[in-house]
């Protein structure tokens, strides 16, 4: 009885124990389920954004669509930079059998040269084999007709930049290069291509493609069309540009700028030697690039803007104007030129060793007398020269739409002290007064100076691009009295002065010649004809002029590097350019 009772009791406790333990297990299960739900909440609700982003990143690939680069046109509507469509034949990597079968059909459509065959064999291992580049239109048509027979073969079209006026416009238009990233987007490197790159480049579009884990494209989700780049119209006249280029091509290295001062437009800007813009923009071999880089005449250099020269006698205009303004001289004041001036035991020669005798301002400019300007600039002082030179645009950018424009060099006392640590010497003022010494300017700056004189406005800005609304035409007039004297003197230069030989015309040119010295003349070299001096040591021949006299409109600046005398070499070229412009104007007006 007792034992039975105990047994029952024990059984009862065991049953309770089982129930108790099952409760523990059930509790654990509930707890773990709750844990799962909690974690699910963390993943799907708290971090949902993060994982959605990752999921989209997984499956969506952006495939860019390249924009068409804007064209560059000349004022007369000729394209100087445009895009040519090129077709390529591509084949995916495939088995030998498929490859052979494909090639059989391809060879029926197009002719493959030996070079092409070799290239194909070399690139067999890459995921895409380029069967042929630059397919002709005929070949393209034939292949697209037969494309359905081919396996894994595709035709791809790409736009290639092309420059029709390859040499003539190479400096102005510039060149482009692949930007070197994954996308073959062209980037302007020089000239207008670089300066207006943002406007020309357009905006890339893209296609959103869904891909699977193996990277295979499943479908297109969305696409955004590219925005083509804007066309740019230059002020350059293609015919004039070509004419000027052909003229300069007879020299070794030269540059010329033609300005229409009525609106500041640059009608022609040529630098010779020029580079082949098509060649440079394409893929070049190392040897080709080396030959361009190591050319002693630096064909990549735009000599009109990116190269500074001593302005020589052209600068005398500024000095003369400054002297008149500062009332240091009157036009009739005469100064004696005996062929040289002695300062501190050093003799500064006039270009004419025989001397000019007593000369007034007109005669001094007419014959470009150095002694006269030595004396005038000595009286004027460097500070005054710099003050007026600055007003005429020396030492400052002209604001033309070309990259890395040179500003030249306007020597001041401060500059001298900072760069050499010595004080300014009086004779340096005299040398600066004839446009030599440290003084440097670009040809465009000289042309702009003429623009300022003939528009009678200090605010003259040259432009290369049509319809640039942003360029202000603020009036900042130059004082009439002094300017009239200078203009008269410049007219005389071409009628009875240094340029009289080449610039006497019916419509009338006013201008100034300059022969800027590049090295000190040795006593032995005095009187030697330019042909006997090594090319590198010859003077730069410069001529800047304006025509016609009655209604000045065109400024032509010509610089022949190491050409010799400005009157003998540069002025005749300018005369030809003027003739051409006037002829054209006559045709237009009739």
């Amino acid at each position: 009885m007792t034992a039975g009772y105990i047994n029952v009791f024990k059984q009862q406790s065991v049953r309770d124990d089982l129930k108790f333990r099952s409760k523990i297990i059930f509790g654990t299960i509930t707890l773990l389920s709750f844990l799962l739900v909690l974690n699910l909440y963390r993943l799907q609700i708290s971090n949902a954004e993060k994982y959605t982003l990752m999921s989209n990143k997984n499956r969506i690939r952006l495939i860019p669509i390249l924009p068409k680069r804007g064209r560059i046109l000349t004022a007369d509507g000729k394209a100087v930079a445009h895009n040519i469509c090129q077709h390529k034949l591509l084949m995916e990597r495939c088995s030998e059998d498929v490859f052979r079968e494909n090639m059989k059909i391809i060879c029926e459509c197009i002719r493959l040269e030996k070079d092409d065959q070799q290239k194909i064999d070399e690139s067999k291992k890459s995921p895409f084999i380029v069967i042929k580049d630059k397919l002709s239109w005929e070949e393209y048509a034939k292949l697209s007709m037969n494309l359905f027979k081919l396996n894994g073969v595709s035709l791809e079209s790409i736009h290639v930049r092309n420059y029709p006026m390859t040499f003539e416009c190479s400096h102005v238009v510039g060149h482009t290069k692949n930007n070197g990233h994954n996308l073959p987007i062209l980037e302007g490197k020089t000239g207008i291509e670089a300066y207006l790159n943002d406007k020309l480049i357009g905006e890339s579009g893209n296609t959103q493609v869904e891909v699977n884990a193996q990277g295979k494209r499943i479908r297109i989700i969305d696409s955004e069309e590219p925005v083509a780049g804007m066309d740019v119209v230059l002020t350059i006249d293609s015919r004039l540009q070509k004419y000027v280029y052909d003229l300069l091509a007879q020299e070794r290295a030269a540059t010329a700028v033609v300005l229409d001062i009525s609106n500041g437009e640059i009608l022609a800007m040529v630098s010779f030697p020029a580079f082949n813009a098509n060649l440079i923009s394409a893929k070049m071999t190392q040897a080709q690039w080396q030959s361009v880089i190591q050319d002693p005449l630096f064909p990549l250099l735009n000599r009109a803007v990116n190269c500074s020269y001593p302005p020589g006698s052209i600068f005398k205009i500024v000095v003369a104007f400054a002297a008149l303004e500062e009332k240091i001289i009157t036009p009739q004041d005469k100064i004696f030129c005996g062929g040289g001036i002695k300062v501190d035991d050093t003799v500064f020669h006039c270009w004419n060793r025989g001397g000019h005798g007593h000369v007034n301002l007109f005669e001094a400019l007419r014959f470009s007398c150095d002694c006269y300007f030595f004396e005038v600039s000595r009286k004027l002082g460097i500070d005054n020269i710099v003050k007026y030179a600055k007003r005429f645009g020396f030492g400052e950018e002209t604001g033309v739409e070309l990259p890395s424009e040179h500003v030249g060099l306007l020597p001041t006392k401060k500059w001298k002290f900072l760069s050499y640590g010595t004080h300014w010497k009086p004779y340096e003022t005299m040398i600066a007064g004839i446009g030599q010494g440290a003084l440097l300017a670009t040809l465009l700056q000289l042309a702009v100076m003429f623009g300022k004189i003939y528009t009678r406005n200090y605010e003259f800005i040259p432009t290369l691009v049509r319809d640039q609304g942003k360029k202000s035409r603020r009036a900042n007039p130059i004082s009439e009295q002094s300017l009239n004297i200078i203009i008269e003197a410049l007219r005389q230069v071409c009628s009875c002065g240094t340029a009289a030989g080449s610039c006497r015309t019916t419509y009338g040119i006013s201008g100034k010649t300059g022969s800027s010295q590049v090295s000190k003349i040795q006593p032995t070299e005095v009187g030697r004809s330019p042909q006997n001096i090594p090319w590198k040591l010859r003077d730069h021949a410069i001529f800047v002029g304006c025509a016609p006299n009655e209604h000045p409109r065109y400024v032509v600046a010509v610089l022949v590097e190491h050409g010799g005398g400005g009157a003998a070499v540069a002025a005749p070229i300018a005369r030809k350019i003027f003739d051409r412009i006037m002829e054209n104007e006559k045709i237009v007006s009739q």
Binding site: K10, F26, S33, V37, N39, Q44
Partner: protein
């Protein structure tokens, strides 16, 4: 005479019905929205295993009691056969070819282990239960199959067998102190077990501990799975709209990672529903166990509840990156016959137990 459809099991039927619908949707979506082929096969499997479930329910429950050891021994034998001449798939020897289909003996092993342990404990007198030595057999019975499965190698199932065995021992009155001490020492000795693991198992555990260790290799699966679950938000991407699975970023998207597919397409609510359904099924199992008077049935039902839940827990934790990747299927939802049948049999057993929960003793059948 038993009823064809027992009234007590309406709840279970409802739960199962919803789960099987979700299962079909999940498989349909994971196979790319096609009825033919695998999805149809899955449907057939569902019907076949439902029939088996009904058969188990109809059968005399005492058969399970009386043949528990026999089934256990058969399962052990089949494991040994797998070890000797099994088919090697995916680098593991887990399948036997039985002429018309291949099956994984480790699946019935879990069931027979539960039955055998239940039989053993139901025979034990209350006094014996409190003695440590009476638990020697269950330990032996648990670790033999675990060792055999571990040899396949299938770490996940081996651990599962041990967990099921241990929880049943705990349930049946394993001395509490010793149980806690053993668990404690196991945790301490765990690092020693490291040396018994194969390289790929080590890799999985290392990757689990630091998913960024190898984001494109082992960690890839877990990361992709988490991305898929996470991108589901509250309502999911919509039926057939999941991108991770469809675009092959998910591995094993219709077997072990089916929960991921469901969570991506049906969102937090869908995943919650799945977990809730499983929880309810476990509750039902435990309720039947509580109600049952027949001790064998009682212990069996508890065991089956644990069996069901541990699968769900390990699988869901695995796809959410809470546990290392081990090949544990999600009951009813994963594609595959063996697991489907064994879970349906569990349901059938619980239904049978529920139908006769008032029977106190099993009448002698075969003595």
């Amino acid at each position: 005479m038993k009823k064809l459809f027992p009234n007590e099991c309406r709840i279970l039927f409802t739960l199962l019905f919803v789960l099987l619908i979700i299962s079909l949707c999940g498989q349909y979506s994971a196979f790319g929205g096609q009825w033919r082929g695998p999805v149809l096969r899955h449907l057939l499997r569902i019907f076949a295993s439902l029939a088996i479930m009904w058969g188990v329910y109809i059968m005399d429950f005492r058969i399970w009691n009386n043949f528990a050891y026999l089934f256990y021994i058969l399962a052990i034998l089949s494991l040994i056969i797998v070890d000797l001449l099994g088919i090697i798939k995916f680098g593991a020897q887990r399948w036997i070819d039985v002429y018309f289909f291949t099956f994984q003996p480790s699946e019935p092993m879990k069931l027979t282990l539960i039955l055998a342990l239940a039989r053993y404990y139901s025979m034990l007198s209350p006094i014996e239960v409190n003695q440590l030595r009476s638990h020697a057999w269950p330990i032996f019975m648990t670790f033999i199959p675990a060792a055999l499965v571990f040899r396949q190698p299938d770490l996940g199932t081996a651990v599962l067998l041990i967990i099921i065995g241990c929880s049943m021992m705990f349930l049946s009155g394993f001395p509490l102190k010793i149980f806690l001490i053993t668990i404690g020492s196991c945790v301490v000795l765990c690092p020693l077990g490291w040396f018994c693991l194969r390289n790929y198992q080590k890799n999985r555990i290392l990757t689990f501990l630091d998913p960024n260790r190898d984001p494109l290799g082992m960690g890839y699966h877990i990361l992709q799975s988490k991305i898929a679950i996470g991108s589901g938000h509250l309502f999911g991407r919509g039926f057939l709209q999941g991108t991770q699975g469809k675009l092959n970023f998910l591995p094993e998207k219709n077997t072990d990672f089916i929960f991921t597919t469901i969570a991506e397409e049906f969102g937090f609510l869908g995943a919650l529903l799945v977990i809730f359904l499983f929880f309810c099924i476990c509750c039902y199992f435990f309720w039947v166990a509580d109600e049952s008077r027949f001790k064998f049935a009682k212990v069996t039902c508890y065991g089956l509840g644990i069996f069901m839940f541990i699968h769900v827990f390990v699988n869901v934790s695995m796809v959410m990156g809470l546990l290392p990747v081990v090949g544990i299927p999600l009951p009813f939802l994963s594609y595959g016959g063996s697991s489907m049948i064994s879970f349906m049999i569990s349901c059938g057993l619980v239904m049978a137990a529920s139908a006769r929960k008032h029977h106190q003793q099993s009448p002698p059948f075969f003595q």
